[in-house]
Amino acid sequence: MLTFRVAIRALAKNKMRAGLTILGVVIGIAAVTTMVSIGQSASQMVQSQFEMLGTNVIVVRPASRRSGGVQIAGMPSLTARDVEAIRTECPSVMAATAMVRAGGQVIYGNTNWSPSEMWGVGPDYLTVRNWPLRHGGFFTERDVSSAAKVCVIGQTLVRELFQTSDPLGQTIRIANIPFEVIGVLEPKGVNLFGQEQDNIVLMPYTTVRKRLQGSEFDHVHLAMVSARSMQQMSDAQNEITHLLLERHRIHPGEPADFEVQNTDEFARVLGMITGTMTMLLASIAGISLIVGGVGIMNIMLVSVTERTREIGIRMAVGARPKDILRQFLIEAVLLSCIGGLIGFALGVAASTGLTMLINTLSSGSEWQVVISVPAGIIAFLFAAAVGIFFGYYPARRASRLDPIESLRYE
């Protein structure tokens, strides 16, 4: 405790040097803090993107069947009846929707527009995707069974086709077929891969099949299924797999003609990638922390030489070698801890600034500033460890000085 005060006094006597000494650690800790923070924002971003994709989503898609080593492509195997069975027969499934891809231009009045996504879906779509409507309603089972000529559009279409006028009840034409706009989706922004998600038109999948494609088959391109909860994801996956194996009469040992993908796994992999990136960046930043530590050692060594006489005086009046060791060690640790605190504050400021910059540059995405308290504590402890590690050698050197020679030192 006493040596603590002695160390503070000694540091206070040379504030300029103390400031320069801690600069390295300040930068090091600030860099680590910023990197970890940005990394965590990125992971959180990934996480929220997956939440945007829908809640507890499982994707079922037809797979190419192999027959005797030959891949038979383009054999659609998933039907709307399969999807309906998944929805009604799997207890862990909350909602399921068939999805049929479509394309083409949308015309309203004398304006035309190509939506990037045009899908035929079922009434459960919004539930699965966790996507609320802004105005109007969504199509019902009746619309699906009657292949009604209705559609729901995203914000981009509202902006491009209707500008300020109300799109509800208006008629747009797709492939020369008139569709009534019955609903408008909430904006969703860009997805993980930078694609805009609001440039979308949704119709009943039956409408797409029968009216746009003129097909009587009820094959679908994929199904999106939502489990009742996070915990029931794997149950749901198993149930779907068993159900489809049975329905498609696939015997054990035969390859399945469909794939059941859990978006969570994908999220985990992506999370792992961002986690690895964060670690990598933090490690690189950590190197600057070590450089900062070497800076402290350097200055402490200079300081020991410069204060040889002071050490001699202290020893003459009764300081034991370990008192001197402790004083210099505490000085080093104090320096690095102060540096750590300032660095952490700077890091918080920098990551806030960077996050804001990212949000301004990539409009639509909403990065959150993530400041983790454990990261702060770890940064602080690491700074203290740097102080001990790099302060020990100079402190030991100071404690081993000979009092007589130190007193004579000019």
Binding site: I313, R314, G318, R320, I404
Partner: protein
């Protein structure tokens, strides 16, 4: 010469009867190993110093008087021989134990004051107490103020060494040396950097401390006028005691005569 030796022997016997010696040096040798050559700075010094003595250590440079002073001050260890301080063998103690002894029993005053720069007089005087166990901050402050008042610097508590005159700095150093109430006060050329008037003041302070407070004072000096105030003079030459006398002139002449013997 013969007479003084005789008297020294008598003194030793008399005082041994009265009190035990504070310092007992027996055949102290100090050899500095400078790699290729070995320098013998002390070659068998035996000396008894009693509580309350006022001693001057004189001799030309290289005579070993500084080495002897460092030895007595527990800053250094003898290569061989026995050093008993207050009936405790201290010649072969560890650095930690010697620091303890310096802290509790010995006060140092140096030629160049050796105060901590940019540190107030008060803090400088408090310094030894920082390394003494269990003295509260309040107690440290109280004692340091009292000590500075005693040396006449009660109005200079917050001044840094740079803001004090040489004499004032040396008095701060004396206050620091006395703060732990040592039984032994050592001065290494304490007036070497002071003008004659301030020197006299400092020497008078030493004298008062010796006479009024019974503190044992050992001064290393080459100035006969300073040495004259001491009651006992030890003259060293080439690492041995050549004279131990209360008579400064005798001590000086013995140093001088030896010089002539050596140099012809």
């Amino acid at each position: 010469m013969l007479l003084s030796m005789h008297r020294f022997a008598c003194d030793e016997r008399d005082e041994a009867r009265i009190s035990m010696a504070l310092i007992e040096l027996r055949d102290i040798r100090k050899i500095y190993d400078l790699g290729e050559v070995q320098v013998e700075a002390l070659r068998g010094v035996s000396l008894d110093i009693h509580q309350g003595e006022h001693l001057a250590l004189v001799g030309p440079s290289g005579s070993g008087k500084s080495t002897l002073m460092n030895m007595v001050g527990c800053l250094d260890r003898p290569t061989s021989g026995s050093y008993r301080l207050a009936d405790e063998e201290v010649g072969n103690l560890t650095a930690d134990r010697r620091a303890r002894i310096r802290n509790r029993r010995i006060g140092f005053v140096f030629q160049n004051f050796n105060l901590l720069a940019r540190t107030s007089a008060l803090e400088n005087v408090e310094l030894p107490l920082l390394y003494a166990a269990s003295v509260s901050a309040r107690e440290r402050r109280r004692r340091a103020i009292a000590m500075l008042e005693r040396v006449g610097l009660g109005d200079r508590l917050g001044h840094h060494p740079g803001q004090l005159s040489g004499g004032q700095q040396q008095r701060v150093a004396i206050a620091r040396a006395l703060i732990n109430e040592p039984s032994l006060l050592m001065g290494d050329e304490p007036t070497g950097n002071l003008d004659s008037r301030t020197s006299r003041e400092v020497i008078e302070l030493f004298q008062r401390l010796n006479e009024d407070n019974g503190i044992t004072v050992i001064l290393v000096t080459h100035d006969p006028e300073i040495a004259r105030n001491a009651k006992r003079i030890i003259a060293l030459r080439d690492g041995v005691i050549v004279q131990d006398t209360p008579d400064i002139d005798l001590a000086w002449s013995s140093l001088h005569s030896q010089e002539q013997e050596v140099e012809p």
